[in-house]
Symmetry: C2
Subunit: 419 residues, 2 copies
């Protein structure tokens, strides 16, 4: 459906598209990757071209473990130096009962996947029986909803406010579903620069969500494709890190980290991190579905991390996207009427726009496309039966800065005209 809509916007001269979800090809480290691919085959060809471990290459796992350790917000050695504000915000640093226990991942807690959706598929396949419920943010990433539903799950979205998923509603929904004897298997969330809203879950909300899910005994699947794309504000600990370091709970959260928005989606490399009791059945599904992940790309990503390219490259990407993020916020402020609200993401590649007035952005799509601006109607990010129509998603990683300015102007006029 989205495919057909978007197909109609492709190749049209002068079309400004906010519809995609693609990273800018300008951010791909082409030259370094070209050299690394050659180096990997030359130095390790006979091994790398052979069948590999289903769970993924140990060199890549070790590189990711090191990177994870180096980027934790709560490592004991750096606790006072780097994270006091976060700790103070939440009262954790001053509470005498709080022990922060930095964790170090082991290889059996990692599964290398063919992109994030692939990890989400194995997690779902490992846990879901037909009729089970998956909770998620509403709106949320459509690809995951499709994978959930294809595996027989019922997907129930929970509304968000500016701090993320609304816990009262989450709690009520859980009670309600359980009174109907439904089995809730897990909560799916994208805490950083969420797709499609750009909302980042606040630090308080993260703590409270974990407490609630622990109390309700519901697993969390944390999808994390955008965390490294932060343009402003302070990096927040993942739910995965908080659960492990603060709550000493290694089972509650499974984290999917993707390299698609960092190195290029064509490489199809992501990693699932979780308790071995969850990683093992995921790995068993991986074996049935792809036998083992592609070997060459795994080694290339391993070396990209090991050789120190990743840290520098992440700084470059954040710098690259910052003006695009600023441009779309400025344009929305300039051209949108007061009836329109929009998110102000601190990172990622999406902004969410919604109206007080009962506009229908599915119905308006042909008219706005005729004015050469494309977007994705908000309804497409809800499971069937939960659609909202007064909203839309704008992507700002693909259009130029001039296109952003002009496209938002056209969109604003259409909204004013239609309201």
């Amino acid at each position: 459906m989205i495919r057909e809509m978007l197909a109609s916007t492709k190749g049209v001269p002068g079309m400004i598209s906010f519809a995609g979800g693609f990273p800018s090809p300008e951010t791909f480290p082409v030259n370094i990757l070209a050299d690394l691919f050659k180096e990997v085959i030359t130095e390790t060809g006979p091994d790398t071209l052979q069948y590999g471990a289903s769970e993924g290459d140990n060199e890549l796992k070790d590189a990711i473990i090191k990177w994870d350790t180096a980027t934790q917000i709560f490592p004991s050695s750096r606790r006072d130096e780097h994270s006091p504000s976060i700790l103070q915000q939440t009262g954790w640093s001053t509470s005498s009962t709080t022990q922060i226990t930095p964790y170090a991942l082991t290889r059996d807690e990692l599964l290398i996947c063919t992109g994030a959706t692939n990890g989400i598929y194995y997690f779902t396949r490992a846990l879901i029986e037909p009729g089970d419920v998956i909770l998620c943010e509403g709106p949320t990433f459509l690809g995951s909803v499709v994978a959930f539903e294809a595996n027989g799950a019922e997907v129930i979205p929970i509304d968000m406010d500016r701090d993320g998923i609304i816990l009262d509603q989450l709690s009520d929904t859980i009670k309600n579903l359980r009174s109907q004897k439904k089995t809730i298997k897990f909560l799916y969330t994208i805490p950083d620069f969420q797709n499609p809203t750009g909302i980042t879950m606040s630090i308080d909300r993260r703590y409270e969500l974990i407490k609630l899910m622990q109390a309700e005994e519901i697993l969390i699947l944390e999808d994390d494709p955008y965390k490294e794309l932060r343009y402003t504000g302070e990096r927040l600990p993942s739910l995965f890190e908080i659960a492990r370091s603060v709550y000493n709970d290694a089972q509650l959260v499974t984290l999917i980290k993707s390299f698609s928005k960092i190195l290029g989606p064509g490489l199809r490399i992501a990693v699932a991190m979780g308790h071995p009791d969850i990683i093992k059945p995921m790995s068993s599904w991986l074996q049935k579905v792809i036998v083992n992940p592609e070997g060459v790309t795994q080694k290339v990503v391993a070396r990209f991390i090991q050789k120190g390219y990743l840290i520098k490259h992440l700084a470059f990407i954040a710098q690259y996207y910052t003006p695009y993020n600023n441009a779309i916020t400025a344009a929305l402020e300039k051209y949108m009427p007061p009836s329109v609200s929009f998110t102000r993401p601190q990172g990622g590649i999406f902004v969410w726009v919604s109206t007080d007035s009962p506009l229908n952005f599915d119905a308006l799509f042909p008219e706005i496309v005729a004015k050469k601006v494309a977007y994705i109607p908000g309804s497409k990010f809800y499971p069937e039966g939960f659609e909202k129509y007064n909203c839309l998603r704008l992507n700002f990683s693909y259009p130029t800065i001039e296109q952003i300015e002009r496209g938002v102007e056209v969109l604003g006029k259409c909204i004013v005209h239609s309201a």
Copy 2:
């Protein structure tokens, strides 16, 4: 289970292993691939590192289509030149009613997959409802059986003779299953140098199988990882080609071709070829599971074919494995007692050994491994409940020629001793 057994044989000094299913790393075209990887990223990086089409890269599809056309046994222009013996064998060339219609694949008949098992998974996922039956050769490739059963299928094996699957038994089984109101969804077969037996389905059997499956209206899934590894004898047309070119039936057979045994399994590249009505739902599953296949490797394989490396490389591989194939046949002739029979494959990487006497090669495994020879017991290649124990599989692509000679000698003595 196999994994644990094999783990016990690894790293043991002096162990001769016939247990693997790995191609020899000596056959990987390391230098060419190293250059192609660099070239692909340098020349096409921004495109290739981006999200791609779910169905696979068009450049790779076009290269495969050209290759398929060039290697058909029945192309009209080469019909009299290359295939008279095959045509005469089956009576088709002399029959006045036979029209041979060469086919040309179109892009929508191809799906690029992450290895052959991945294609088999999508085919299964697209067709199978829990309780449906899949027919296969007995013994057969374990990985496929696991994928079939994981999707809820009941897997029923049919015995083979030296010409392949036994049609009387196949026909009787179909009748029997249908009288029990079972739904038979497809037949899974590996016609060339079958895993685990090394048996190649004869040309007559191919025609008769297609006629039977057409009459019974049962689809065929043809798994073809070894066809290019032919050391002697005449190349036979695939079931896919016969169905299309001779029976003018584009729906009956879906073919999975893998590059794992040709270029290296680490690349995880295979292609499914079939009718768009089957490829489309497979592609829809692929999208849910991996979004799209890895981009760089697809382009590398495309160029490997386009630039003419593939044809030369296939000749090299066939030449490379020939002495290993000869060595294992010679050793089996020399060291096996008359109670033992074994296949004499014309290609591939496996030989099947079975005994008249009621030996149990599961039970003998520890004893023979203690003598530093490893194999896979034949029982592991049957669905549960259909196991045979008087047989085993030997792989000859991984041990050296000296190891083959010595290992078969040890195995022969153990069999004589145990009988």
